[in-house]
């Protein structure tokens, strides 16, 4: 928590504020009615309330897309940057200000298409942040173009006769990257599961990647229709170290016991794209975090001048 930039924080008075859900509500959400993003927003506000995060110590970072409007709807600090580039900005924020809680929301185009390079590398860096992929399997904001996660043969405005390729599986892709430390999947229409997953992600120290299956009634209504209606279409990964919500046992009867520590098994389970498996696929807190690897000494201005003068001595005529 000590950091040059925020020295004032450490000498602050005791903070006895209590925050309600409303304290986290920013502008009125302007997503379409029935858009899955709404429930993600609610779950997030619940999480912040439950964790009593200070609004001013929390930053939401996003790219461009429907999903990337997220920061505007939170009453925290926000950074609504460029399409595909949420992660570099978030990395900069966290490197400069490790005292802040950083959340990233991205769409499937944002994260998996234009942002793919940053995504892969961020998994490696394993900087401590919560990273949400709001996956509606389509480019929403630009009005319906095929995304990397669009299922094969599903039509869009750029591939009107059906998507050419099999969908990219964000879970296996993430799990393929060395230093992955937290990979989970949840669905926005199961609020309890969504909430618990966000919470687990928040408590993970490292890069916590969560793919959220998200309905877009405008462009991809059909895709999650069955999964929403038929709980049997869903397979819950449960484990003592994972997520297990007993209340849901009655509804979601397909359960797989999976130890999030098992990478091989995680990859195997993540493989089929057409199976909706929810839960924590992988978690490993022992992975090195980039920011820890380079924690630095903090110097006063005078010390720095002194040190720089020593440098000059080396170059003196």
């Amino acid at each position: 928590m000590t950091h040059l930039g925020c020295s004032l924080l450490s000498c602050g008075v005791v903070d006895d504020r209590h925050f309600e859900m409303e304290d986290y509500q920013g502008a009125i959400a302007r997503w379409c009615p029935g858009c899955g993003d709404h429930s993600i927003l609610t779950a997030m506000q619940r999480l912040l309330e439950e964790e009593q995060l200070k609004p001013e110590q929390t930053v939401f970072v996003s790219g461009i897309g429907c999903s990337s409007r997220f920061p505007h709807y939170m009453k925290t600090y926000g950074f609504h940057g460029l399409h595909g580039r949420a992660i570099p900005a978030a990395t900069g924020i966290k490197l400069e200000r490790p005292d802040l809680d950083v959340f990233v929301t991205m769409g499937d185009g944002d994260c998996c298409s234009i942002g793919a390079g940053h995504w892969i590398h961020a998994i490696r860096y394993n900087v401590d942040m919560v990273v949400l992929l709001l996956d509606n399997n389509m480019y929403g904001l630009t009005k319906g173009q095929t995304s990397p996660t669009t299922p094969a043969t599903f039509p869009s405005n750029t591939q009107p006769y059906g998507s050419y390729l099999e969908a990219l599986n964000p879970l296996t892709a993430t799990l393929g990257v060395t230093n992955a430390s937290f990979v989970a999947q949840t669905a926005e229409w199961i609020p309890a599961h969504l909430f618990e997953t966000l919470k687990a992600a928040y408590h993970h120290k490292g890069f916590a990647f969560v793919r959220i299956l998200q309905r877009c009634p405008v462009y991809t209504e059909k895709i999650y229709e069955d999964a929403v209606r038929q709980p049997d279409a869903i397979e819950m990964l449960i484990h003592d170290d994972g997520i297990h919500i007993p209340d849901l046992d009655e509804i979601y009867k397909n359960q797989i016991i999976h130890d999030p520590g098992n990478l091989d098994e995680a990859r195997r389970l993540a493989e089929p794209f057409d199976r909706f498996r929810l839960g924590i696929f992988y978690r490993n807190e022992k992975r090195p975090r980039y920011e820890d690897l380079r924690r630095l000494p903090v110097r006063t201005a005078e010390e720095k001048v002194e040190l720089l003068n020593q440098e000059f001595d080396r170059y003196a005529v």
Partner: protein, 640 residues
């Protein structure tokens, strides 16, 4: 015409011509240019670096330029493969690489011929040449050597064959790893350099290699020194004037790195690219102790994104790159302008377009630095002209970026980046370091963009400030940072972002005119060409020509008073290292002529008919060539 002198190894060729007893001829000059050139991998660069540093440390003015081969690993003994260093040093300050080399040490005749083809040598240059090739086992090489000597004989050089290989073999087994120190010794004796200083410099160069290597290198250097003393009949004397001004000597990239540290910036977020990378090498080595980090990102886009994220959340961060990287960063630069997040970008220019000439100097990123972002994205572009200005530009850049909440692009180039020059040691100021970030609570009635309606300025707000929560957005927004698509909000935001730059302009001073205040021709330049231009102007004035010059530091906004200054001259022309059509080229007219980049900016701004003379040789411009251009333009007569 200089007399050709052939010294040779006593052992092999018997006693040299003439007796050494009467003492060597002393060539006393106010300045000279020395070059050492070898196949790449033979260490001529290190030799030159040490020699240059020693010249500077002895109190001479100096300017060094790297000689870089075109290829990663050019074949041995090839004309295009020469690698080395060129050191110009003098009694007074030296501001540029000059015209031609007066003394050259070459490890083989082919790299020497390559240099001659490039016009690097003065016609009366003294040449020291390893003669091991004369007796080389490979007959083809022997033939090449003979042919080479014939070629050399066509010039008026004073050629000294030196048994470098042979002498080095007395000390080391593989002379490829030692000849450079021998050559250093030769030069040391010829130019009467301080041998203790040389030893110290060798120690610094090889500080990570251990005592043994140091000792061997010193021994080789001393062998060269001794050989020269025994065999050569001339010495060059470049007097020094003792000075009280403490100085430092370094290349422009090191100066940029130290400037960043002095400016209190702590995050250099970069992606490797020549010729910018060496700045981050320097920083990577020392930054830790200053609490700074070099973040090597996965690409240039991420590099600038990380810097902007950090600047948004705290202290101004910076990114260092070269042309291709600048192109990739443009989208993010536009975002920083829109968010009013301060950011410093160093662009160490190299030859373009595209991958172009990655190791060579050019000044062709000026327009893209000014206009490379889509949309109207007003920001600042400035260009240091010397190593010293490289250092100070980083302090200026941070201050402007912060005070005006904008992007500042610092344009340097490969000439500054790799060249070495001594300059007065900067007086550091602890206030430059000061963290701007404090996190007091915010009055909820104050918007995050609390623009002063007159100046467009507003204080930055940081995460952590209670009550100040807002979402920075690249979408059009109002003062509350709320997305606003109405005409007034967008017009206002655009106006505020532009106004700041106009306000900055009002704080700038007009540039100084070098030479007479009025006259027939004014030469305008920017960046690393300053020394060469001013030297050319000096020479032209000495010839009685009515020429002055004027060097610009700020390109965007431009400094005030230009039109007024220009009006005092009959003719104005820029001299730049970028491409322009010559007025008399086929198909070229006044209407379709591509003009040099600063000329273009000045024409638009002042409506003065600013002419230009520019070239893209992948090398610094030579004062002599600029002088020729001056003469030629003056013959063409007034044009303004």
């Amino acid at each position: 015409m200089a007399t050709k002198t052939r010294a040779s190894s006593e052992k092999k060729k018997g006693p040299g011509k003439g007796s050494k007893k009467k003492g060597p001829e002393i060539i006393r000059v106010p300045e000279t240019t020395v070059e050492i050139v070898s196949d790449s991998g033979e260490g001529a660069q290190k030799c030159g670096q040490i020699f240059g540093a020693v010249c500077a440390k002895m109190g001479n003015g100096a300017w060094t330029v790297e000689i870089i081969p075109a290829e990663i690993q050019p074949p041995a003994r090839s004309k295009a493969g020469g690698s080395g260093n060129r050191v110009r040093f003098g009694t007074e300050e030296i501001t540029n690489w000059g015209d031609a080399t007066n003394l050259v040490v070459a490890f083989n005749e082919q790299v020497l011929l390559g240099r001659i083809e490039l016009g690097a040598l003065a016609e009366d240059a003294i040449v020291l040449l390893d003669n091991k090739w004369a007796t080389h086992a490979d007959e083809d090489i022997q033939k090449e050597w003979q042919g080479g000597l014939k070629e050399l004989a066509k010039h008026d050089y004073r050629i000294v064959e030196v048994p470098m290989e042979e002498e080095c073999l007395k000390i080391v087994e593989d002379p490829r790893r030692g000849k450079n120190m021998f050559a250093l010794g030769l030069l040391a004796w010829i130019c009467d350099r301080d041998v203790d200083l040389i030893r110290a410099q060798i120690a610094h160069q090889f500080r990570r290699k251990g005592e043994e290597i140091y000792q061997r290198n010193v021994e080789l250097m001393e062998a060269g020194y001794g050989w020269a003393e025994k065999n050569l009949d001339f010495r060059i004397e470049v007097p020094t004037i003792p000075s009280d001004v403490p100085k430092v000597v370094m290349n422009g990239n090191e100066a940029i790195g130290m400037g960043a540290i002095a400016a209190g910036m702590e995050l250099c977020s970069m992606y490797p690219i020549t010729p910018a990378t060496s700045a981050s090498h320097y920083l990577s080595e020392v930054y830790d102790k200053f609490g700074g980090v070099v973040h090597q990102a996965e690409d240039e886009i991420a590099a600038v994104g990380v810097a902007i994220g950090a600047s948004y959340a705290g202290k101004v961060a910076y990114t260092i790159t070269s042309g291709p990287g600048l192109s990739l960063k443009q989208e993010f630069l536009g975002l920083a302008v829109m968010l009013e997040v301060p950011l410093v970008v160093v662009d160490v220019q190299r030859g373009g377009p595209s991958t172009g000439l990655p190791t060579k100097v050019e000044q062709s990123d000026l327009l893209t630095a000014c206009f490379g972002q889509h949309g109207d994205a007003p920001h600042v572009v400035l260009a240091p002209a010397t190593m010293e200005e490289c250092f100070h530009s980083m302090i200026t850049a941070r201050r402007i970026a912060e005070a005006f909440r904008t992007v500042v692009i610092v344009l340097t180039d490969a000439n500054l980046a790799t060249g070495v020059q001594p300059y007065p040691r900067p007086q550091l100021d602890a206030r430059w370091q000061q963290a701007p970030v404090s996190l007091p609570p915010v009055d909820e009635n104050v918007p995050p963009y609390d623009w002063d309606p007159q100046t467009g300025l507003s204080p930055q707000r940081y995460p952590g400030q209670p009550g100040g929560m807002y979402t920075a957005t690249g979408l059009a927004h109002n003062a509350w940072s709320k997305v606003a698509y109405d005409p007034d909000s967008h017009q206002l935001g655009s106006q505020m972002r532009s106004r700041k730059i106009a306000v900055l302009q009002q704080t700038l001073k007009p540039p100084q005119v070098y030479g007479s205040d009025s006259g027939e021709l004014l030469v305008v330049g920017w960046g690393s060409t300053k020394g060469a231009i001013e030297e050319a102007v000096d020479r032209a004035q000495a010839e009685g020509l009515s020429v002055s010059s004027c060097h610009l530091t700020f390109i965007q906004p431009l400094q005030p008073g230009l039109k007024e200054i220009f009006s005092r001259f009959d003719r104005v022309m820029t001299v730049e290292i970028n491409y322009s059509d010559e007025p008399d080229d086929p198909y070229i007219t006044d209407e379709n002529r591509r003009r040099a980049q600063l000329a273009w900016v000045l024409r638009a701004s002042t409506l003065v008919d600013v002419d230009c003379w520019s070239r893209v040789p992948g090398q610094p411009l030579r004062p002599g060539n600029i002088l020729k251009a001056i003469r030629q333009r003056l013959e063409m007569g007034a044009k303004v």
